[in-house]
Amino acid sequence: MQPILQIKGILKDFPGVRALNQVDLDLYPSEVHGLVGENGAGKSTLLKILSGALQKDQGEIQINSTSVTIPSPKASQDLGITVIYQDFNLVPHLSIARNVFLGHESQIGSRFILNKKLMNQKSTELLATLGIQLDPRRLVSDLTVAEKQMVEIARALSLESKIVLMDEPSGPLSEHEVNFLFKIIQTLKEKGVAIVYVSHRLEEIFKIADRVSVLRDGSLITTQLTSDIDLEEVIRLMVGREIADYFPKQTHASGELILEIKGIDGDHKNGLRVHAGEIVGMAGLVGSGRTELAQSLFGVKRASKARIIFNNKNIRPQSPWEAIQLGIGMVPEDRKEQGIVAGLSVRENITLPIIYKLSRWLKIDRHQQNEVTQTQVSQRKIQTPSIHQAMQNLSGGNQQKVVLAKWLAKRCQLLIMDEPTRGIDVGAKAEMYKLMNALAADGKGILLISSDLPEVIAMSDRIYVMRDGRLVAELPGQTTSQETIIQYITQGEENARN
């Protein structure tokens, strides 16, 4: 069989960095090709070159054995390439159908006047081929993340794309939704579409991909059939060194009870408890109420009817400010949107919660501010050329460490970590786990919300499972199997017990 896409000797330089160095890659119809590598390995650069967002410096791209140039995103689309980014390219206040046909409305009628009836009908058909029932007149802004992704895929189908590039498609999805995505990828495969699947979740690559390519520091290290290689080997190739313990969990004697939440639906027993020095996992689907619970604890949303007892006192924080004063910190779900101020320096970000404490007579004590920042940067091993570096120039893993450092500089007692390792690379993940251990050893309580089940199981002392806003199970960490948790997540308490 002829490869549909061939990349030969692609080279791309950014000021001071060679982002891609002589990369060769081929892609066959009906193939799912996993692309892995740490952050900064060159995956995104490669995708951007194929999508026309960036131009290569050297090398050749062939589609169906014909050499092509991709000067713009439009050219890429015309060549039958669709890229599905993590942050979708959809227009929120337009309907599903208008999004599916955006930019190629002429395909179903006039270029100037929308044929809405036909458009809606075609969209329904496209979604149906993917096994999804959605009203095409609904606004994209009303859809869940998973549904938005399906709209993007339907759009790729409407463009009759033969090559679909997916950048961390499972990132925002829950376990259940990921399985559905895999079914859809299977459907695309059967239609002869070639798929490049970029993901940090290596387990997924082994589940869905036929072949896997490993990038490291801009170079292609290997391309192999997934049946010929195992997960440990891929990790070793990605980081270029052995990672002895991927989850370096240490158990700690847990101290006093610092947090208790009582009266969550479905809970008849002890409530949700976090002790000092304990890592408590929260498993559940997206929308199961985990994030909402965390947000009411942190004062982002008005508290539900649940009663929150923190350090033996009833609390009901009305704003993040109040929660922070009590000694609660939160590493939010979406680092870019909620965690960091990208344009400001590492120093400004770390000291943001304590900026008023650091000042005397209205003026910030720069000396003390620098000292606090330096301490955090060295203790948390944040890699940055200087504390004045803008956050946007740091890698995802280091940005996440800054978010954490912010709360440690504030000396928070309880840390809520909502998907703390989403979208960061393997090496940075391992470091994040080590940091969590160190914090627990230091007597902090950690509430770990994560959709990554191996992570929850390995890192937690105890695990709570939520489903539809109800607390359905309390399980021991480490010894619980993924299957048990999935049963509780998908079936709830009664069924899981049988």
């Binding site: 909620q338 960091i340 900026i355």
Partner: protein
Amino acid sequence: MPVIKTRVLKSYGSLLGLIGICIVLGMLSDRFLTISNLTNVTRQVSINAILASGMTLVIITGGIDLSVGSLVAFTGCSALLAMGLPGSDFSGILTGLLAGAAAGCLSGILVSFGRVPPFIATLAMLIMARGTALAMTSGQPIVKSSGLYLVLGEGYLGPVPVPIFIMAIVLLACHFILSQTPLGSSIYAIGGNEEAARLSGIKISRIKVMVYVISGLCSAIAGIVLAARLSSAQPNTGVGFELDAIAAVVLGGTSLMGGKGGIWGTLIGAFIIGVLNNGFNLLNVSPYYQLIAKGAIIIFAVLVDQILKR
């Protein structure tokens, strides 16, 4: 080498532009580069620079304040009306400042607690403040050609005209707020990423109110200085001042998206506009063509900035 050149251009582009304009005007008119003319230009710039200082703070939070021009009239009239009551010039000035702060506070509350977009909230304030100024003066100028307050417009501190001195104080104060205080850090954080700032415990609403109050205060200072210079308060004055202030901020490199910028850039921006006005007058350019040229120069400056960013 080209990298260094771009960096210099990015940091000092607007300053180089200002120097370039001055050199060209100096060659075209022998009256331009005289001490008396340059002092005159600076005095004319002072009103806009004071307004633009407050505007810079507002724009860095990602907002905008369209009301400053009307507030110049409203606060000037408030101050002079209060001076007519038993009391002193001092209480009149205080009344003007309070009027400006109160108007800014109202805009700020609408923006932060009412979640009204800044453009709309301050547009409404622009209209209301103008109406209030006209209503309380019945549309007639209030003339007051004697009193201590005139020093603010006509006086000198050594060789320095008082308006220039006041401008310097306002600029330094706003610069201090932005660069040295927690309030400044919060302002940049809100403009850079409001949600992240909120989740870091910054009291967003309070700080937004604060920047609009500061902008209102700056309007009041400008309004009182202007009244002192004209020995009267005109309810019709200040029309379009907000546009010059916004232009100065933008020419100074502060992003309308918020999160970045600074006072020094704004000062240079204000001077670019002031020098152009003065130069066009010296060269006897018709006021109609002046407007066209000013618009073109703003477009040119922002285009250059956009190209350098690439």
